[in-house]
Symmetry: C2
Amino acid sequence: MTRYQLEVRVVPRTGLLDPPGKAIHHALHSLGYLGVEDVRVGKTIFLQIDAPSGREARGRAEEMCRKLLSNPVTEDYEVSVLGEGEVQDGTDS
Amino acid sequence: MTRYQLEVRVVPRTGLLDPPGKAIHHALHSLGYLGVEDVRVGKTIFLQIDAPSGREARGRAEEMCRKLLSNPVTEDYEVSVLGEGEVQDGTDS
């Protein structure tokens, strides 16, 4: 079993409303940043998954996206495997 | 003046508490994903900035990070220029 470091990016689907992006856009204009457009906000989730292979770790992360991490109607997700290491016994953060 | 597409990543500083990460970690365990550890959640902000050069666009984005987009005590940020295009008159999204 190997511990994989993964990055999951969840972004609002293009063309859909993005209220946090609108709020940041508005706040930047208020601060005097006028040449700023099309602000969109997504989440990046970093996590470690113990799995027999990187392919399996990525598959589990994609399943987590469908079940919990993303809203399938309004968001798109993308999973990347960043690295791998040994599983250390007794770790539970 | 060129319009630059930038990506700003804001992540909780390593070693500091990350309550959204803890909540996702807990929810994943509840769903049966036991081999998941060290979940951390950051934001990714995509924005377009009109500037005379990519260097200038990046500098403005870094200033926005210090003033608004990140919490300087608890978060780190990273700015990347993804691409560039012509400024079109009359656009204001």
